[in-house]
């Protein structure tokens, strides 16, 4: 089965080619959507096969590399089109193909009747292929194909409604921000490659070879530089501070895209990359600290913005940024498997949330369309009380919200709590730990608050929709609700795979599964870890209880403000107008970037063109030409154009020269 790993990205590629090249001719939505979904589902089956085979193997044999064909070989440099199968990549392909299949299925219903239906499925398949390349790549370069490929698909899918200017802008912004990250990725790659090559004559970009040579890497120094560069790449892809502003804008894309790309898979690529190269990252304590701080800060920062948004998808987008912050926090505190675990659970509940919001928007849009209302179908202020009209959507949505809020028993609780605990107890960051934990806990509170605010505003209370449209609201078709139900189930129970040891009910399957991948990293980490006092189980229980309490407080506030006393939010806004404006406008980060980078760049370009190119360079060139013309303007009087003048000078010349030679 391992040998057939190349089939996994191949199926979506076939789907992409069929839909991309012939989709326009096929026209039949069932066939197009069927092909797209089938292809990714086939990949899912192959992935399951690989998972089964791997479970059967002893942990130390769970690494397999498959070279498909040689790619770039030049000088020392060697990169093959090769795939790496190990526990980490298997987790990822399971998530990508599994969630991917569900979202494909969902899209058949959601995108029904859209112009460019085939285009959507082609892009979606292309995305899956890129994402699978990213997670399966056995060297940094194949990963980079996927890395940029998902960026490309994200560009294409955000810009799916290309006639909207905002969509085009958002698409470009996403790609460029990703490119800034790619810049970091490339520099990191170069640094690592060059250092290992020139100092130890190991010229490689292959993960396994780097892992084998990782004991040669120093702690800090060049590794810090390289890993910080890689981390820049990760911030671009995973929307962390400072490159997070593209993700909320990316909500211009269709909702399934937001679910697949901007929640479940692509944005987690940065986390995956750090996990994949954990043995390098852990060698730089400074980088680990930066990652942890950035992660914690993003988690809190994005959560604050999320509290004031009214667009249902934007709330979820900021929530995604915030949750990604958690994952980075986990990575930064050395809790790699916890980070990956949160990645997986987040994929379940966030995909479910997005799809649920899609279902709501779909229904709203439909209803508003019937009465020719131009109200925004995504604005929560126009919703309310939808739970009666859309029970399945409501229940799955609620389950996922509980999961993300960290209520015990649901998947989010296990993963988030593990991260919080690790950030408190990890041996790497000393006194910083308490701050990290504090940020994480505060973000958890805000998360619970804004997620329940979302639920309350959407599904509870009185219906604020255009009265005429109310009767048209109805539950979405099965093709939409089945994925919701599956994901909802996963969101509820997926967490039991990684139950903390503390609870002792189940072994932590997930952590054991990933142990072979992160063993080496833990070993490296232990060389500089500060082992303080052993923290007691009591403390762990206590913190767990505290975080649950915090979440419940958040829910309570949301309940008070949006169900019990709906005038409170208005009062709050009136009391702190500046604060609300700042939060509502995302702390003006976009404007700041425009002011700091975008506009100066444009102005500078304009200056270089008009000022330097035209004025100086061309000025010099034309100036030389004009000088020559000026001189020739003087000399041209010699060229009178009259034959006799020429004859005269010729004769004079002959006479003088002859005379010289004769009389000399």
């Amino acid at each position: 089965m391992f040998d057939n790993v190349w089939l996994i990205p191949l199926f979506p590629l076939i789907g992409f080619l069929i839909n991309g090249l012939f989709g326009k001719k096929i026209k039949n939505e069932a066939i197009i959507g069927g092909i797209g979904t089938l292809m990714i589902f086939l990949s899912f089956l192959v992935s399951c096969g690989i998972l089964m085979q791997m479970i059967g193997l002893p942990p130390e044999q769970r690494v397999f590399e498959k070279v498909v064909f040689p790619w770039i070989h030049s000088g020392h440099f060697k990169a093959d089109m090769a795939f790496l199968v190990d526990p980490l990549s298997v987790v990822m392909i399971m998530v990508v193909t599994g969630v991917g299949s569900l979202i494909h299925l969902y899209s058949i219903g959601y995108m029904h009747g859209e112009e460019g239906f085939y285009r959507f499925f082609a892009y979606l398949n292309l995305f899956c292929m890129s994402m699978l390349l990213l997670v399966l790549g056995s060297n940094m370069l194949v990963m980079f194909i996927g890395w940029e490929g998902v960026g490309l698909c994200s560009y294409l899918l955000i810009g799916y409604y290309f006639h909207k200017k905002s969509a085009g802008d958002a698409a470009k912004k996403a790609f460029v921000m990703n490119r800034i990250g790619d810049f970091g990725f490339l520099i990191g790659l170069f640094t690592l490659y060059w250092w290992l090559g020139s100092n130890h004559n190991i010229w490689t970009v292959n993960f396994m070879e780097i892992k084998a040579a990782s004991h040669l890497l120093p702690y800090g120094g060049v590794v810090t530089v390289a890993t910080l560069c890689f981390f820049l790449g990760a911030t671009g892809k995973s929307a962390q501070i400072p490159l997070f502003t593209w993700l909320p804008d990316a909500m211009e894309g269709p909702t399934p895209v937001s679910a697949l790309i901007h929640a479940a898979t692509m944005v987690t690529a940065g986390v995956y990359m750090i996990g994949r190269m954990s043995f390098v990252f852990i060698k730089s304590p400074d980088t680990m600290m930066v990652i942890a701080v950035v992660g914690a800060a993003t988690a809190l920062f994005a959560a604050t913005i999320g509290t004031a948004q009214n667009d249902i998808k934007r709330v979820l987008a900021y929530s995604t940024v915030s949750q990604l912050g958690y994952m980075f926090l986990a990575m930064g505190v050395g809790a790699f498997s916890a980070g990956i675990f949160h990645l997986m659970t987040h994929a379940f509940f966030k995909a479910c949330l997005f799809l649920g919001s899609g279902s709501v928007i779909h229904s709203m849009h439909h209803a508003l369309h019937k009465v020719h209302s131009h109200d925004d179908a995504q604005d929560m202020r126009n919703m309310g009380g939808l739970r009666k009209a859309m029970p399945i959507t409501f229940i799955t949505f609620l389950v996922s919200t509980i999961a993300i809020s960290g209520i015990p028993g649901f998947s989010g609780f296990f993963s988030k709590d593990e991260i919080l605990w690790q950030s408190f107890s990890n041996p790497y960051h000393g006194n910083l730990n308490i701050v990290l934990w504090g940020f994480g806990a505060a973000a958890a509170c805000l998360t619970a608050f804004y997620m329940f605010r979302l639920v309350f505003m959407t599904f509870f209370g009185e219906c604020r929709i255009n009265p005429g449209a109310k009767s048209y609201l109805h539950e979405s078709p099965l093709v939409i609700t089945i994925p919701l139900m599956v994901l909802g189930t996963l969101a509820a129970f997926g967490g039991y795979l990684g139950m903390p040891k503390l609870m002792g009910l189940l072994p932590n399957y997930f952590e054991h599964w990933l142990d072979p991948v992160f063993e080496l990293s833990t070993e490296y980490g232990s060389t500089y870890a500060q082992h303080g006092d052993h923290l007691s189980h009591g403390l762990e229980w206590g913190l767990m209880g505290l975080s649950v309490l915090i979440a419940i407080i958040g829910i309570g506030i949301a309940f008070t403000m949006y169900v019990q006393n709906t005038k409170l939010p208005g009062k709050f806004v009136a009391t702190f107008p500046a604060l609300h404006r700042a939060v509502y406008n995302k702390w003006y980060v976009d404007e700041l970037y425009d002011y700091l980078f975008v506009n100066p760049c444009k102005a500078f370009g304009q200056f270089l063109w008009k000022g330097f190119d035209v004025l100086i360079v061309d000025g010099v060139v034309n100036g030389v030409a004009n000088t020559v013309m000026g001189f020739s303007g003087i000399f041209r009087y010699l060229q009178s154009g009259y034959i006799y003048n020429y004859a005269f000078s010729m004769a004079l010349g002959v006479v003088v020269m002859l005379g010289y030679f004769i009389f000399k």
């Binding site: 060229q639 009178s640 154009g641 009259y642 034959i643 006799y644 004769a651």
Partner: protein
């Protein structure tokens, strides 16, 4: 025969007169005639030397020069006609398009 030098002197005089003519006159045809005069002066030198040295090569050359002169006359005069057709004049001062 006369002294070689006297022929050469005559030839030199004719050549110089021809030069002056080319330089002073404005009528293209007259200029052309002066050039013929210069050519003839050279011809005379050729024949005189040929005779003096007892070698006929010079005279063969004169023959060629005459052919060239004939060709020149044909083409040159055709040019003048074309020029006259355009400018209604044969004055070389009117042919000044080559200016700058």
């Amino acid at each position: 025969m006369e002294n070689l030098n006297s022929y050469l002197i005559v030839s030199a005089v004719l050549f110089s007169i021809g030069t002056i003519g080319v330089l002073t006159r404005k009528n293209a045809i007259v200029i052309f005639m002066c050039i013929e005069l210069m050519l003839n002066a050279v011809n005379l030198t050729f024949v005189a030397f040929s005779r003096y040295l007892g070698n006929l090569d010079g005279q063969v050359f004169v023959f060629f020069i005459m052919t060239v002169a004939a060709a020149e006359a044909a083409v040159g005069l055709a040019l003048f006609i074309a020029f006259f057709n355009n400018k209604d004049s044969i004055d070389v001062t009117d042919a000044n398009l080559m200016k700058w």
